[in-house]
C-alpha cells in the first residue's frame, strides 16, 4: 500500500507491506521492519528494526490540531505536524502565504474572545494587515491577512467568545 505523508509541509511517499502489526516500511532507498501497535487509541508504539539486529523503541502520542485537522505526532518534546494521505485531503491550503488563489479563511487558533475587528465587509486589506484580534489568557493575538484582498465576510462580533477553529472572517484575494 502506498501512502502520501506530509511532514512539516513536505510531502513523502512511503510503501507499507505486512499486517497484524508487523510491517515493512520503505521510504526511498531506506527500509525498516516495524512492529507497530496502537496503545490506548491515541498513542503509537513502534519497535523499529534496522535489519541488522538493532530494534529501537519509540512511543509517539498522536493528537489532532483543532484548527487544521492535521495530526500532531509527538516525536521528541515538540510535536511534528503530519498530514495523512495528503494528495486527497490536503491538496492546497487556502491560507498559504503564496501561490494559493482561493479565499483566505481566518480561523481562531485558540479559544478566546474577539476584542477587535479591523475593517468591515468590502474593505480592502493588504498582506500582513491584522484583520481580527482575539484575546486569550489576557494576551491579544492579531490574525492577519495572508495576501492583499477584500474582506468578503465577517462572521463574528466584537466581544463574542469563540472556540478554537471557529471561522471568523473570509478574505478574497485581489
Amino acid at each position: 500500500m502506498q501512502y502520501d505523508i506530509e511532514v512539516n509541509g513536505q510531502r513523502r511517499q512511503l510503501t507499507v507491506t505486512g499486517r497484524d502489526g508487523r510491517f515493512i516500511v520503505r521510504l526511498g532507498e531506506e527500509e525498516w521492519s516495524v512492529d507497530a501497535s496502537h496503545v490506548a487509541g491515541h498513542t503509537l508504539s513502534l519497535l523499529i528494526g534496522n535489519g541488522e539486529g538493532l530494534v529501537v523503541s519509540r512511543e509517539i502520542p498522536v493528537a489532532t490540531d483543532p484548527v487544521s485537522g492535521q495530526h500532531l505526532f509527538g516525536i521528541g518534546p515538540v510535536p511534528v505536524r503530519v498530514g495523512l494521505n495528503v494528495r486527497r485531503r490536503f491538496g492546497r491550503t487556502d491560507d498559504a502565504a503564496d501561490g494559493g488563489s482561493g479565499p483566505q479563511r481566518i480561523v481562531a487558533p485558540m479559544p478566546g474572545k474577539v476584542v477587535r475587528i479591523v475593517g468591515a465587509v468590502g474593505d480592502a486589506v493588504v498582506h500582513r494587515q491584522p484583520v481580527v484580534v482575539i484575546e486569550a489568557m489576557k494576551m491579544e493575538n492579531e490574525l492577519r491577512a495572508s495576501r492583499d484582498g477584500t474582506i468578503t465576510e465577517v462572521l463574528v462580533q466584537e466581544g463574542q467568545s469563540v472556540e478554537a477553529g471557529a471561522l471568523l472572517a473570509i478574505i478574497t484575494p485581489s
Partner: protein, 513 residues
C-alpha cells in the same frame, strides 16, 4: 474543624483536598461555569457553582463564597494562593461569619500587604531593606522634588506599586530622563490592576538573587523559619524554577537570613504559613523585599527536603495546635529539590498562552518525582485563569542528581492537544549557568533576549523521517482513519471494542457459573 471550603481552583485546590483527606476533614470545592469538569470538583466531597467563568464573577466573589460556606456548614475556609488569598476583606469576612480563615489575621494581611508598611515593620525588626522612599510618593508631589528624591536613592532604581505584585505596576529607571514617565506609567498600571495607584521608589540591586524563607507561626508565639528557597530563575518577574537549598547560601548566612525572617514575622504578629522574600547581592548582603501572607506556589520543594507537610500544618495551626517541629531539623535540608512550573504556553512562540483541550496526558513518576496538578486528559485549559497546569518537583540526594532526575522526568512527560513549557525546561536545565547555579533574577530574561526567539528544540531530519514512518503506519493500522479527524474516532471505537470484549468475556464467564 470538620469541613473545609476551598476558595480556589486548579492544582492548589487539589493539593488542599489531599491534606484535608489525610486529616479526616471533609473538603468542599467551589467552581465557576468553565470548571464544571475540573479535577478539584471531582475529588471533593461537595461542590458548589459560584458563578460565571470570569474570576471577578466567581472566585473573587467574597459574598458568594461566604454564603456557600455557611449554607454547606463548613467551619473553615482555605484561600489557596492568588484570587482572595491576600485580601484582608476576605479574611475579615470569614472571621465575621464565624469561619476559621486558614491563614493570618486580616490585620497581618493588611499590614504586610502594603509594601511600604511591610518595609517599616522590617526596619523596626532590625532587618535591612533595599534603600528607597519610606512612604508612597504623594499624588501631588512636584517633578523637581521627585527628581531630587530619586537622585538621593541613586540609579538604576525601580518604581514599584505599593499594592499587588507579579511585576505589575513596576518600572526600571536607568536615568533621570526616564523617571517622570516611568512613575506615570506605573501609577496608571497599578491603579488599573490593584485599584490603588500609589507607588514608591527603591534602588535596583543588580545581579541579585531572589532568596526566600518559608515560615510557620502558631497562635502561641512560636515562629519557625525553614531552610531557604532559591527563586532567581524568573521570566519577566515571574518565577519559573524554584529550588532548595540555595547554592549561594552558606550555613552561616542561612542562620542570619532565617533569623531575620523570623524577626519580621514576629514584629508583624504573624500566624500560619507565610514567606519572607529577600534580595541577596553579589557581596552576600541581603535585603528584605516583601512578605507573602499565604501558601506559596513553590511550597513543595520545602516539603521535599524537610519532610514537613506545610498544608497539614496550616490546618493544624488554624485549629489552635502548637508547633511541635524541631527548629534545627527544618533548617537542615535533606538532599535537594527543584520545581518546574509547567505552563500551557508555547515557548517557541514567545510563551504565548496555549489554551485548549488536553488530548493525552501521562505524567512522570518514579523515585523522587512529585507532580502537583489539576489537569487530566479530556479537560480544557480555560482562557480565564493562570495557564499553569502542573508543578513538577524532583528530589534527590544532591543538586546534580536532582537536576538529572528532573531531566529524566521532563522526558517522560507526555501531553498533547496543548503546547507546554516542557521543551523550554529541557533546554534550560542544560545551560552551563543553570548547572553551576551561577544566575540572578535577570539571568533568564537576558538569556532569552540573546536567543531572540530561536526554537528550544530544533527538529532534525531523522525526526521528520520517523514522523513519516509513523504517519504511514497510523494509516496502515487503521485504514479507515485515512482522514484528519477520524483518528480520535478510531481510538474511541477501538476502546469501545475493547470494552465490549471485556463485557462479552464477563458474560461468558458468568454464563459458565
Amino acid at each position: 474543624m470538620h469541613k473545609v471550603l476551598i476558595a480556589n481552583r486548579g492544582e492548589i485546590a487539589v493539593r488542599i483536598i489531599r491534606a484535608c483527606r489525610e486529616m479526616q476533614l471533609s473538603p468542599v470545592a467551589v467552581y465557576s461555569e468553565c470548571d464544571r469538569n475540573a479535577l478539584h470538583v471531582r475529588l471533593a466531597d461537595e461542590a458548589y457553582l459560584i458563578g460565571p467563568s470570569a474570576p471577578r464573577e466567581s472566585y473573587l466573589r467574597i459574598d458568594t463564597l461566604i454564603d456557600v460556606a455557611k449554607r454547606c456548614g463548613a467551619d473553615a475556609v482555605h484561600p489557596g494562593y492568588g484570587f482572595l488569598a491576600e485580601n484582608e476583606d476576605f479574611a475579615a469576612a470569614c472571621r465575621d461569619a464565624g469561619l476559621t480563615f486558614i491563614g493570618p489575621t486580616p490585620e497581618a494581611v493588611a499590614l504586610m500587604g502594603s509594601k511600604t508598611a511591610a518595609r517599616e515593620v522590617a526596619v523596626k525588626a532590625g532587618v535591612p531593606v533595599v534603600p528607597g522612599t519610606p512612604d508612597p510618593l504623594g499624588a501631588d508631589i512636584g517633578d523637581a522634588e521627585m527628581l531630587a528624591i530619586a537622585e538621593g536613592i541613586g540609579y538604576p532604581l525601580l518604581v514599584k506599586a505599593v499594592a499587588g505584585g507579579g511585576g505589575k505596576g513596576m518600572r526600571t529607571v536607568t536615568g533621570a530622563s526616564d523617571l517622570l514617565s516611568a512613575v506615570r506609567a506605573a501609577r496608571s498600571e497599578a491603579g488599573t490592576a490593584f485599584g490603588d495607584p500609589a507607588v514608591f521608589l527603591e534602588r535596583r540591586i543588580t545581579h541579585a538573587r531572589h532568596i526566600e524563607v518559608q515560615l510557620l507561626a502558631d497562635q502561641h508565639g512560636t515562629v519557625l523559619p525553614f531552610v531557604e528557597r532559591e527563586c532567581s530563575i524568573q521570566r519577566r518577574h515571574q518565577k519559573v524554577v524554584e529550588e532548595t537549598p540555595s547554592l549561594a547560601v552558606t550555613p552561616e548566612l542561612r542562620q542570619r537570613i532565617t533569623s531575620a525572617a523570623a524577626a519580621v514575622a514576629r514584629a508583624a504578629g504573624y500566624t500560619n504559613a507565610g514567606t519572607i522574600e529577600f534580595l541577596l547581592d553579589r557581596d552576600g548582603k541581603f535585603y528584605f523585599l516583601e512578605m507573602n501572607t499565604r501558601l506559596q506556589v513553590e511550597h513543595p520543594v520545602t516539603e521535599m527536603v524537610t519532610g514537613v507537610d506545610l498544608v497539614r500544618w496550616q490546618l493544624r495551626i488554624a485549629s489552635g495546635e502548637r508547633l511541635t517541629l524541631d527548629p534545627q531539623k527544618v533548617l537542615t535540608p535533606n538532599g535537594h529539590a527543584i520545581e518546574c512550573r509547567i505552563y500551557a504556553e508555547d515557548p517557541d512562540n514567545n510563551f504565548l498562552p496555549s489554551p485548549g483541550r488536553i488530548q493525552n496526558l501521562r505524567v512522570p513518576s518514579g523515585p523522587g518525582i512529585r507532580d502537583d496538578s489539576g489537569a487530566t486528559a479530556g479537560l480544557d485549559v480555560p482562557i480565564f485563569y493562570d495557564p499553569m497546569i502542573s508543578k513538577l518537583i524532583a528530589w534527590a540526594e544532591d543538586r546534580p542528581a536532582a537536576v538529572a532526575r528532573m531531566k529524566r522526568a521532563l522526558g517522560e512527560y507526555v501531553v498533547t492537544g496543548i503546547k507546554t513549557t516542557v521543551p523550554f525546561f529541557t533546554w534550560l536545565l542544560d545551560q552551563a549557568a543553570f548547572q553551576t547555579s551561577a544566575f540572578h533574577t535577570t539571568y533568564l530574561d537576558e538569556l532569552l533576549k540573546e536567543r531572540n526567539g530561536r526554537p528550544f528544540v530544533e527538529p532534525d531530519a531523522s525526526d521528520e523521517t520517523l514522523a513519516a514512518v509513523a504517519g504511514a503506519l497510523q494509516l496502515a493500522l487503521a485504514p479507515r482513519a485515512a482522514g484528519a479527524t477520524t483518528t480520535l474516532a478510531a481510538g474511541a471505537s477501538a476502546s469501545a471494542a475493547a470494552s465490549a470484549g471485556r463485557w462479552k468475556a464477563r458474560a461468558r464467564s458468568e454464563g459458565l457459573r
